[in-house]
């Protein structure tokens, strides 16, 4: 009885983990490969003549960039004017970098956008560790529920008491 109970629990856990793994991997594959890339340095170039274009209301860079935690945003100023971006100060001909180490979605004040704001979206990277974590978090409770369900749906048969020894 004890062994059968243990087998039922372990079996249910494995089924739960398998279902979670299938659902998680299907969802991961549908998101594309970029979501699992390692941290990298992403360059944002402020082109020459940016100040003039911005004062005419034109945009010189594409807004709303998506980053992964651990990425570094390097802003290269090729314009003849000094530019600022949030905490960064970027004189002409230089670059400055911002480490993106927290999950956040925010708009920094900046001098190279007509709106004077530039949006950043920093997300958690979907690494193998994240995926395994997700599978365990979903699979273990599901396995536990399956084992409870199985005990209700298919109860263990009562064993006949052993005949009394004469």
């Amino acid at each position: 009885m004890k062994l059968a109970f243990l087998e039922r629990i372990v079996g249910s856990m494995l089924v739960g983990l398998l279902i979670a793994a299938i659902v998680s991997e299907v969802a991961f594959r549908s998101m594309g490969n970029t979501s699992s890339r390692p941290p990298q340095t992403i360059k944002l170039i402020i082109p020459a003549g940016a100040s003039q274009k911005v004062s005419n209301g034109q945009s010189v860079v594409s807004d709303g960039m998506i980053f992964m935690i651990g990425d570094t945003l390097e802003i290269v100023n090729q314009d003849s004017s000094t530019h600022t971006f949030g905490p960064l100060f970027i004189p002409p001909g230089t670059s400055a970098s911002l480490d993106l180490n927290t999950i956040e979605r925010l708009a920094y004040s900046c001098s190279f956008e007509p709106t004077k704001y530039f949006g950043l979206d920093v997300r958690e990277g979907l690494t193998l560790g994240t995926r395994i974590n997700g599978i365990l978090l979903a699979g273990l409770p599901m396995g536990l529920l399956l084992s409870v369900y199985s005990v209700i749906a298919w109860p263990f048969k009562k064993q006949d008491p052993a005949p009394p020894a004469n």
Partner: protein, 195 residues
């Protein structure tokens, strides 16, 4: 190949992998990491001529030979400006005997109220060795622009950036805001070591 040789080969591979990993990790960490935002490559800081706290006309380039800790603010400010000046003062104290290789420079964003004597009183509250600059709005506006400082009506500024200019007159680091004196002290010690 007997079993003993296989074990020795596997152990060698493991040790070699560990040594390679440690070498790569150490090599990557040789470059010091600054707390402030590094300006690369260092470029000459915008020079200017303004009136100092003694009413004398003075140029920023006259201060070459020291690391300059530059901050923009206004003397009637009650929060960010005195807080930042206090932090810069702590940085100099924290540098000990290297403090004389640094110079705090305060530049006004409120020319209407910040007379040289008002600037002198203000900077003396934090570090009497500091230099304070003020001037007419026509003199100050190009400086604000060069340093990316936004000045609102009445001299109020939301720019809390601190700039470090090296002894050769180059912009090296910025902080926005400078909230932890130890971060600046650590960076200054790296700069003083020649990084």
């Amino acid at each position: 190949m007997n079993r003993k040789n296989i074990v020795i080969a596997l152990l060698s591979i493991v040790l070699l992998s560990a040594a390679t990993f440690l070498f790569l990790k150490t090599e990557g960490s040789n470059k010091p990491k600054f707390n402030g935002s590094l300006i690369e490559p260092p470029v000459p800081a915008a020079d200017f001529t303004l009136t100092d706290q003694d009413g004398q006309s003075s140029r920023l380039s006259d201060l070459r030979g020291k690391y300059l800790l530059i901050f923009f603010g206004f003397t009637s400010c009650t929060d960010e400006c005195p807080a930042t000046m206090a932090i810069l003062s702590q940085v100099r104290k924290g540098l000990g005997e290297n403090a004389d290789q640094t110079q705090i420079v305060f530049i006004s964003t409120d020319p209407a109220r910040d007379t040289p004597s008002a600037v002198k009183t203000f900077i003396n509250r934090f570090d009497p060795t500091s230099i304070g600059f003020t001037g007419s709005i026509a003199d100050l506006q190009p400086v604000w622009m060069e340093y990316g400082v936004m000045v609102l009506d009445g001299g109020e500024t939301h720019s809390v950036r601190v700039y470090i200019v090296d002894p050769d007159g180059n912009w090296r680091l910025t902080y926005a805001p400078a909230s932890d004196p130890q971060e600046l002290i650590d960076d200054m010690e790296l700069l003083l070591k020649g990084y």
